[in-house]
Point group: C2
Chain length 568, copies 2
Amino acid sequence: MRWSQMHIPTLREDPADADAPSHRLLLRAGYIRQLMAGHYSLLPIAVLVRSRVVAIIREEMARIGSQEFILPAMHPAEIWQRTGRWEGMGQEMFRLRDRKGADIALGMTHEEIFTTLALELSSYKQLPQMWYQFQTKFRDEPRPKAGLMRTREFTMKDSYSFDLDASGLDTSFDKHHDAYVRIFQRLGIPAIPVEASSGSMGGSASTEFMCPSEAGEDFVVHCTSCGYAANVEKATSRLPVVTDAPGLQAPERFDTPGARTIADLAERYDAPGERQVKTLVYVVDGKLTLVLLRGDHALMEQKLNDALAARELRPAHPEEIREALGASPGSLGGVGVTDLPIIADEALRGRTDMFTGANTDDVHLRGVSVERDITVGRWADLREVAAGEECPTCAEPLQVQRAIEVGHIFKLGYKYAEALGANVLGPDGNRIPVIMGSYGIGVERAMAAIVEGHHDDKGIVWPLSVAPFAVAVVIAQPKDEQTVALGEQVYEQLRAAGVDVIVDDRNERPGVKFRDVELVGIPFRITVGKKALSEGAVEFTERATGETRAVACADLVEEVRKAITSHG
Amino acid sequence: MRWSQMHIPTLREDPADADAPSHRLLLRAGYIRQLMAGHYSLLPIAVLVRSRVVAIIREEMARIGSQEFILPAMHPAEIWQRTGRWEGMGQEMFRLRDRKGADIALGMTHEEIFTTLALELSSYKQLPQMWYQFQTKFRDEPRPKAGLMRTREFTMKDSYSFDLDASGLDTSFDKHHDAYVRIFQRLGIPAIPVEASSGSMGGSASTEFMCPSEAGEDFVVHCTSCGYAANVEKATSRLPVVTDAPGLQAPERFDTPGARTIADLAERYDAPGERQVKTLVYVVDGKLTLVLLRGDHALMEQKLNDALAARELRPAHPEEIREALGASPGSLGGVGVTDLPIIADEALRGRTDMFTGANTDDVHLRGVSVERDITVGRWADLREVAAGEECPTCAEPLQVQRAIEVGHIFKLGYKYAEALGANVLGPDGNRIPVIMGSYGIGVERAMAAIVEGHHDDKGIVWPLSVAPFAVAVVIAQPKDEQTVALGEQVYEQLRAAGVDVIVDDRNERPGVKFRDVELVGIPFRITVGKKALSEGAVEFTERATGETRAVACADLVEEVRKAITSHG
């Protein structure tokens, strides 16, 4: 390729409103342009990178025997209604009506649609099947952000497995797990597999692949000692045992004028956070629900969501709370409440001599024994793990780190097969539902994650595996005929040798060209200038290290091959 | 690949409701499945064919220097509003609102969006640019039909050219023209370039690539003598000159009880069709309009649409007609009508002594001189050319043939650049708008067109260039160890030689396997059976001809290579 004939609109300045390095650099280096919030055009060099990412994923899918499909992006509402997700997906699903008034969903994921194809499987002998596609997904994200990191329209490689039984699913899941490990390794993404919430996907277990990064939107809890790692949405920790006094015979009301927070109560009434019961009120699928936690703990909403298998969940409004409990947030409690469901965090089990609100403004209770005095309908792990708490496995202190979710694999179980009727004849002649898994990688987000991990103050530093070009030949003096001739010769030699090479033949100063090659992030630069003409040697510069050395023209192809092999 | 491990759900019977051969065969051979009307899933072997079609198109785009992009499928309404196409596209455009209430279009084509990227071009020195993408288009077709032929969701390769002036556009247009000729040739589609209407695209000229086929929805008018070819939406013909009597001083009313059609009038009142003025009433962008044609001519709606640059156009309802003209269809005419726009076909120019309706039920006029008696506001070519009429170029009889539109290329002119402000600094330092072209190929429709031209009563007969596999190795006796071993060896040899090969290793009878290989349409079949074991020779069968010959195992790779080369 010739730089002069490619549209690579690099920008001199950092674009405004682009904080994440990948967002800033992909814009600045001429990879992407925003059409509207959450929707980006990929320019030619981005298409090259994307095609390399896709090729790597495709190879690894083929290696585990997965077959490539392409399914529609538009789905009839009816199929989503049968699994309950037409309602369940809420506002995140783009919906429209066609000219005949039929309700249509734009696919945010394809469990339902792939399952309709699995209806053609008739015998256990056809299992296992692993099916995947590269396809555009549409999600009406509330807050698209950070360039390609969180968009409303993106390419996903989504796979689906269909097995006869749980051990078959384990095998398909493990194959994908291992394929994902290889994929991220080849992409240069230091992803770590972590336990995760399955969210709206349902199913029994899921693993996220997390790339540690300050630009990430997720938090991973992990233990450097034993390797425990989980999304904070799912993570647990060990808590030191609290020894309570037995407390009172019954809770006792006391006035707490102006004390509205955990801290107020701790400070003024000798009630440390760990001795308080914090009472939150949520609306879960339309139903007011009390959520109890230790005073010094924070609620992890996803855990609440998962525990209650909620479709929709939000904090209650103050008016809703006052109407139900007769008090404002700050004086709420579960004692005596029998007409609302109460869910409590495991850390409150067995606790006595506790403080909590009395459902009267500026009044609290003391001497509360949680299990004696509160009608807890459900116990669950609801609290957010904090850095420094003890690892649930080895008791060493946990760390919490920002990360980008680059992949997510799910054991789905029977949810979709049962809802849509995907059965096969089993070995015993009876029909049994297939058991499913699903597995996803966001292609453009993977590109962003690579840039997050591979850049410096000069620009992007692509790993060779995904770079738009392996080598840029820079003609330093484009007005000098001999330099141009030699540059063109070097370019042709490398092309003939099968090297992905671009020649910077623009009529620009060397400094401009060097800056662009660095910004765009091409792994190797060959500079053809006066020295080449006089000494028969070109400059060979490695983008990652900045190291430059002279290479004799005669040895160049061989040296480039070596460099590529050693970086492969 | 192994047949036993690929999902190729062939059907024993022809599927119901699939008339076009491509629809029937792609379903039956396990290439596609319908999700809902106009939306198909591509199964694994279809993905292989599609990837080969895409690769051929991509190569030819690269050859003319076009650069690959990927643009969003979702567009803000605002950009379409600026070119007037938000309204102009009517019901064919899928529209939705996002969670914030913003209007969004699903891209049916990308002139607007590519033009927004061209806003970054600043100088004539950056021109020409040719940009393309492979991308999903969404169109709310009123009548999706014939499988992949007309869908609501499909992959389009759409290109856009940006030039400094009309001669630059001519060059870009010609490059695409030639690339399309090569593409269709390589795909095995006997496409012919024909003059076409530009429709909602606007612009000065367009050429369609038409594949003659009974399954087509378009009609091509062509002359086997001089090569004239045009879509019937655009085609013209020469008409024999009609010599009229001078007629009456003024039109004369006469009663025509029960005569409601051109034929009635011809039969009962000695008024042959060519002496009648047929009066149609249309609603054009909300405005009632009279459309006049010779009695024996049919209206070509697209020509009316193009002549009036209409956004929306439909025949008026009988009530609307009666309210405006006071009569029913059958007794309508333009004489004396001054409050409605009247557009007349060129064939009526200068005609005298004509018959037409009197705008009173069961009354007509005779002795009408069209230009004297009717206030024609606009003359245009509106009639549909019929087979047998004279070629406009050489006067030989024209033929009319059904065809599939497989490509369409447009000279767009300045419409989009001016509406969206795509200017560059010209050589003289003044800003001038760029001139554009756009060029499209429907990928899945091309697949269907290939099948329409390449099938027989046994199934599909893919051209080698796009076949999912070049060779199928059929193990005839899958229960015989030695046959299996030899079959596997042949398979491995061909794989090692870089041949796209699938081995049919299923535990099925040879007849089942042969039928499937034929139905799926794999160009070459190698049968490994008892003969191979005893004589060291396999059967080599060519799908297109059915010819079978014995090939010694030792020569097989070489023979396959030869066969592939001679078909390439």
